[in-house]
Symmetry: C2
Subunit: 446 residues, 2 copies
């Protein structure tokens, strides 16, 4: 809580002048100026504390001292590229590998989830010799141009009717609450996987070939969607048969967040192993770093192209020191266990809230990745978009940071730092309860 600093209005004015207007801010009518953060708390310029339920990047807690120390020490020693040998690089790769199925053994270190997913596509294209990509409805995989192409969440935002690229095919989101096949369907996993198979058949009819199927292990921006168990196995079978690879995007959901497993794709069962896994956001607790892990076979095929892969900052000794520290803290503080326990507590509390508030249509979550879908009608599932926004703004007044996402922006999204406590969960659920109780009154004022 720095004593000095610009007046908030001055900060806003300079931002308007010098920062791209496409870069949106939370609560744009009355944005928050955050000057410090610790654990699951953020502090504004007046020392007001906010409970942070959304910053999944600050995975082990904002400014965790062990992570800061590891980064600061290594910054003072050496920070250079991977064209020199360094122990941090190989020790970190070894540690990451140990969290994954054995065949996922080769790492490429990059700087962001976007760079990771773009490289995953390059690996898939090179390995398979094919071009076409199957992605999910409402998917978001990053901001570089190749990923806008495979992110319906983004390309549907374009005001000018953007052409969907010919090589991109969109499969239904495996959303058993609002999607094409719902909880009442006897076998949603097969039904959704068969949709992917149909796409493959159609692609083949056009004389085209599948390079990859890509999906977040749990859809995040897409509305906190948890695919039915068995879906990935069946999709992988169809995709492999077609000569393609399975890319699991763990950028939002990896590193123990889901509680029962370290990686979200493992929720599908041990018989499922993707060909490529991409990681990002939480990997460095805020430090810009990221990783792609794949099999020896895919890596060798990529090398056989003859093209070197060089990433200036990726895998530098500072990033790797920070990555190692994050893994250490997750283990030392049993944050995966905490995610499981607190996540379960949060989901239970929200479940009780659902019994009393008809606006809550669905509660779904694994560990500290939880979605609360608000609907105006539990049969028609009419999205309660404005109400979700109201809840978010009212929570902000209570100094609680939550966001709403999904294609209808009606899903309250919990993805707090993993040091989130049961008491934090109690507090936020209590506040939501109060807000929902008063919602109609408040809305009528709007």
């Amino acid at each position: 809580m720095s004593a000095e600093g610009l007046e908030k209005k001055k900060t806003i004015d300079l931002r308007k002048k010098h920062i791209g207007p496409s870069c949106k801010i939370f609560f744009s009518h009355d944005p928050i100026k955050i000057v410090q953060a610790k654990g699951q708390y953020m502090y504004d310029e007046n020392g007001q504390r906010y409970l942070d339920c959304i910053n999944n990047v600050a995975h082990v807690g904002h400014c965790h001292p062990d992570v800061v120390k590891a980064g600061a020490e290594q910054m003072g020693f050496l920070n250079t590229n991977t064209r020199f040998l360094h122990d941090n690089l190989v020790l970190y790769a070894q540690r990451l590998q140990a969290t994954l199925p054995e065949k996922l053994s080769v790492c490429y270190f990059v700087n962001s989830g976007s760079e990771a997913n773009d490289l995953a596509l390059r690996l898939a294209w090179q390995y398979t010799g094919n071009k076409d990509v199957i992605t999910l409805e409402n998917a978001y995989h990053g901001h570089v141009s190749s990923l806008i192409d495979i992110s319906p969440y983004k390309f549907h935002q374009l005001s000018a009717a953007a052409e969907q690229n010919l090589f991109v095919h969109v499969a239904p989101s495996p959303d058993v609450y609002r999607g094409k096949y719902r909880v009442d369907h006897p076998d949603t996993a097969t039904a959704y996987a068969d949709e992917v198979k149909d796409i493959i058949d159609n692609v083949h009819k056009k004389g085209r070939k599948i390079a990859a199927f890509i999906a977040e292990s749990l859809q995040s921006c897409g509305g906190q969607v948890i695919p039915p168990v068995g879906y990935f196995q069946q999709v992988a079978e169809h995709v492999h048969k077609a000569g393609g690879v399975f890319i699991a995007d763990e950028v939002q959901v990896g590193f123990g967040r889901v509680g029962s497993r370290f990686w979200a794709f493992q929720l599908q069962g041990d018989d499922f192993v993707p060909d490529i896994v991409t990681m990002g956001k939480p990997i460095g607790n805020g430090h810009p770093m990221s990783c792609v892990v794949t099999t020896r076979e895919v890596a060798e095929a990529f090398m056989a192209s003859g093209m070197e892969y060089f990433n200036t900052f990726g895998g530098n000794p500072v990033s790797c020191a920070i990555g190692l520290a994050v893994l250490d803290v997750i283990e030392k503080e049993d944050l995966q266990g905490n995610a499981l326990r607190v996540g379960q507590h949060l989901t239970n509390l929200l479940g009780k809230l659902k019994e009393r508030h008809s606006l809550i249509g669905d509660i779904r979550g694994c560990g500290l990745f939880v979605g609360v879908e608000l609907v105006k009608d539990r049969v028609k599932l009419t999205p309660a978009t404005a109400e979700a926004q109201e809840v978010i703004y009212r929570l902000k007044e209570q100094h609680i940071l939550l966001s709403a996402d999904g294609p209808h922006r009606n899903v309250l999204k919990f993805k707090p730092p993993l040091c989130f406590t049961a008491q934090d969960a109690d507090l936020v659920v209590e506040k939501i309860d109060l807000i929902l109780t008063g919602t109609l009154v408040f809305m009528s004022r709007a």
Copy 2:
């Protein structure tokens, strides 16, 4: 110089096992293990000191204490995304803007030169509504898929004959030593710019339209090429007339390296202002960060698409604190002035060497961005590729790090940290002199 650490062989073995084989290492037959660095020096695991003539990323010197301190302190306070207001973001944007022509006023912060160049393309596509891109022969603009497309330096490496994308057009490199128009030509600037005009005319004949011309302000991987003054102005005129924008890639060459000016595009004269400038490598002295700066008009058009631009790590308070510290150090230590003075000294010494060694075909440089092109024949310009490799390896034995690049890998490339001294220049030139004197003897042993 850590006392502990893996045996070098163990580091190599783990690297082979867990790091993508496409990620190449310097001196692959006997790679160097670097454990520490300071200023223009790097140290291996045995405490051996290497003079670093190549790491342009460590711009103000490896592990500069002011930069380390700024990063370490901010890491302990707050490291979060730009959806909250923060002074570091706006103050840094303001400081960067002050180094640029006034109309370049809007910043987008990203994580790497690749992310910056990809965003530059997205800006150009959206602003112009056109698709086609003109790039230079031997250009390298980054490793994400959209940039491989516009990087002949990369796509020509592909063993399988890669198809050049239909929307990409390659103009001759404005290389007055080895290129299509040489020093003996009366007006190389116009001749090379007319080549771009011809491409535009051909594109129009095919019913296509130009979105952008992109070039490094000085080609780096392309062989340390310095375009003739006036070339960019004429190209910009042709490109603007065609409805496109001019993207100046300063990832390798910006931030005072060229000595006489802060940005390399300014070497063309004050009458030249690009529409988009991309920055990278030196911007954070090794910290993964990067920036795109453009005009208000381009930024507004990008926003009008309706698509938000969000970059998880880009512009975070730690990156901005580091960026500010780098600008402070450049100023405080007059590193731009040092680049000018030491660069001139280095170029003079190399010029004298050229008089005595026929292998040296050309010396070209601005500040501490210098190329020494080795040729077997000064008339035919036959590239002395193997000899360049010999020089590099022999210098390594002398604990001096230099590299060779360019389409024929025959250009010795100087781009040291800007704290490089006249004594450092004396040493490396003396060693090159000794190596060249003994080259034939050495080569006959090979």
